[in-house]
């Protein structure tokens, strides 16, 4: 009999970790389904099925144990993040294509679980927004009260995609309005008078973001993530948006608007914290998070895409190995004696 020490092990596993990430997404999903529309639940199912199918096929091809890896939950997390970042009424095949691409190309072609240099969900978003820019930019107008059946029909392509389905995101609408009517409007005026804006940011969406924040805080409390990435991400976003907002409040939205808009909260707590494609050293995580927050702002405000989180994370994924290499922490005994926390 051979069993190496330690004989005692903590009760933990990859599938436990992934399950807890999914649980942490629930408050955000609930707000999403309640305030934006229950179609998101259908998208979550579609994405999950596509992810499991692609995962099973790839595991089969790579001759890996099916049950062990299908149950690890990593494919589901990827699927959910994809569903949550795609427009809720996107056609089913768009979500499925994105998910399958993420699992096959971004995950398994790089070696599967734990080996992917890029966040698979963000690869899916990037690929789809470049390939299908129109569909990826159609967000349902606020106040669109379609019954679930009709929403499902839209997703499945059984009902026509009417104009009301293809509004812009609050972030995009702001950008467009400011570009079209240079000087005629200011941000405060826009936010107060346009229907798509709520109290702080996009109507409804702002509470979805708060849901993600709550889930993220729970993950931090459970030690699934450390504080570094979310703090650096949101800190950088607040710093840069705050500076520009103070400089010209008529032209730039407030930090609060940016924090609660688009994928900022999802990105800060669920995407930039992905350990596989992100940084692992404490200082590395700070650089990674800050870089992602800064790039997300630049892309969403000055770039051509509705939101910048996906590309910001992918760009930082590229830098992660080098950042890790350069930020290796000093080890026990290799710093000044006597320094450090007192009990």
């Amino acid at each position: 009999m051979f069993a190496p020490a330690p004989f005692l092990l903590k009760d933990t596993s990859v599938s436990q970790v992934m399950t807890q990430v999914c649980i942490a997404l629930v408050p955000g999903i609930a707000a999403y389904a309640w305030l934006v529309g229950p179609a998101i639940l259908v998208q979550l199912v579609i994405a999950s099925l596509a992810a499991l199918l692609a995962e099973a096929a790839m595991l089969r091809l790579r001759k890996k144990p099916l049950a062990l890896f299908l149950s690890d939950g990593s494919a589901i997390v990827t699927a959910w993040l994809i569903a949550l970042t795609f427009p809720p009424l996107a056609p089913w095949w768009l979500v499925a294509t994105g998910t399958i691409f993420a699992i096959i190309v971004a995950k398994h072609l790089y070696g599967g679980l734990g080996q992917n240099p890029f966040n698979p969900a963000m690869v899916a978003f990037g690929v789809c927004i470049v390939s299908f820019p129109a569909l990826m930019s159609q967000w349902p107008s606020v106040g669109l009260q379609l019954p679930l059946v009709d929403q499902v029909n839209v997703i499945l392509g059984l009902a026509p995609r009417i104009d009301a389905l293809s509004s812009a995101t609050p972030l995009d609408a702001l950008k467009t309005a400011l570009k079209l009517d240079e000087g005629a409007f200011d941000v405060t005026h826009l936010l107060a008078n346009q229907d798509i804006y709520g109290n702080f940011a996009g109507r409804g969406w702002e509470w979805v973001a708060v849901g993600y924040l709550l889930g993220g805080l729970w993950m931090w409390q459970r030690k699934l993530i450390t504080w570094h990435v979310p703090v650096a991400f949101t800190g950088a976003l607040v710093a840069v948006s705050g500076a520009l907002w103070l400089y010209n409040p008529a032209h730039f939205a407030s930090p609060l608007f940016h924090l609660l808009s688009g994928g900022a909260m999802l990105g800060a707590f669920f995407i930039a914290t992905d350990p596989v494609s992100g940084c692992t050293t404490p200082r590395g995580k700070l650089i990674f998070g800050a870089g992602a927050g800064l790039l997300a702002y630049i892309i969403r405000v000055f770039g051509g895409y509705p939101d910048g989180v996906a590309f910001a994370v992918l760009l930082m994924n590229l830098c992660a190995p080098v950042i890790d290499l350069l930020t290796q922490p000093r080890i026990f005994g290799m710093k000044d004696a006597g320094k450090g926390g007192k009990a």
């Binding site: 190496p4 020490a5 330690p6 990859v14 350990p275 692992t280 080890i331 026990f332 005994g333």
Partner: protein, 572 residues
Amino acid sequence: MLMNLFKFKGGVKPPTNKTQSLGKPIAQAPIPSRLVVPLHQSIGGTPRPVVQAGDKVLKGQLIGEADGWISAAVHAPTSGTVVEVAMHVQPHPSGLDALCVVIEPDGKDEWIPREPVNYKALTPEQVRERLQQAGVVGLGGAVFPTHGKLTASKTVPMEEMVINGAECEPFITCDDLLMRERAEEVVRGIGIFRDLLQPKRVLIGIEDNKPEAAAAMRAAVQAVGENFEVIPVPTLYPAGGAKQLIRVLTGKEVPAAKRSTDLGVQCFNVATAYTAWRAITHGEPVVSRLVTVTGNVHEPRNYEVLIGTPMDELLKLATPHPDTDGIIMGGPMMGFLVPQPDVPVVKATNCLIAHSDRLFPPKAPEMPCIRCGSCAQACPHELQPFEMYWFSRAKNFGKTQEYHIFDCIECGCCSFVCPSRIPLVQYFRFAKSEIWAREREKNAADQAKERFEFKQLREEREKAEKAEKLAKAAAAQAAKKAAEAAAAAAAGDTAATSPQAADAPAIDAEKAARQAAIQAAMERAKAQREAAQPKNTDNLTPDQQQAAAEIEARRAAARLAVPEAPANEKSE
């Protein structure tokens, strides 16, 4: 007493499982049917056996003599007859065997004459010598000969002496009970160490889950009239690691490359202090120790056990459950399954845990690393275990060293928290042993190279000497001829010639021939050296030279015709 404690990073809190074996006082384990006493029970030289089969021995009689300064003597644990001095399987994961003295007890348990000594009358040298002769070694598990740690540094003043009563490993309670029941002798033992090392402070660290032990120690310190500080430290595995306890109590961090004495700290286990006291003032060498017998048994308990007692006999005292399928020596975090149940209890044996799948469920299958970083957060030495894992797996051992693999104390915290169930410590042990093996190979190759070069040199010298002899012979021939000619001439001439006149040309010829031969030999040697050393290795950095040397060594060792790519090639 209020004192600022320091923290070490990382650490884990496994279930302590200590209460099971704390219920009853220490019991004396009966003398077993047979004692197998390994000679090598401490770090350092293997003691030489001084008894042979058939010898009668008394309890405490020397059976293995310390070999060198860092080595500790071994004694007969009870009276009886030496059955054999032979190889037996050791309580070590390798299952290798080593020389043991096997004793059949006579049941009388008759001591050698013991001479109680007041150690204050002895010089420090005498105390150290007595400790060595009594076989006193670190009983916390490292079994380093204690006398070797008791010489104060001449350059660094000894500031703190740390006494380790933390006992952080789950299940183990032998130090706890020792402190509860024999605190005074522990304190007096610490007094011996204190007198030898003269530290400014003596700090006794005890994890705060042992309030009874701490209270007993405090009372003993007071009763003996010492000024030692008994300090409860937070229960956090591995707070009982020497470096961690030193950190917690003094704030000092001992790096892998240094000794604690370089920082003015020395650390001893409480049980070591106890045996030192018994050895010096009672003349009792280390022939027994406290062992916690626990795990999958009916009656977990601490026993005073004779060294050499077969583990299965000891385990029987605690009545193991029928599904017991192995014996763990040590704790569940750093212990190991012994290769067979009848291996002997040695000085390093602090705990036996009966193993069963019920108690320690088989590990779930290993998954890929997801770089979650839990291991890095748990590592008390602030290493990046997952990085070392990647490189160990890839056999990129140079990189593992860049990530400080030799700072790893193999405490098991990383494996404990890993959600992917990767046996990280195993990977690190593998990497370390590979690095050591390569180091040895390299040394062997270096020696071989040296031998080869010396042989070449010798052959050159012999050739040169031969040439010289030939030249001498030729010169002698020439001189002879010249002499003959001269004689003929002299015979012709009537005048007497000086002997120098005839000898001079002969000596010149001899000298010239010798010089020519030496010159030729030197030139050949030079040519050979140049041929042997290609020019492109002349201007290498030390790193590259080392890499090249390692390649050479491996090639030589493996007799490979095809050069292998160096595993620790540096990307420059």
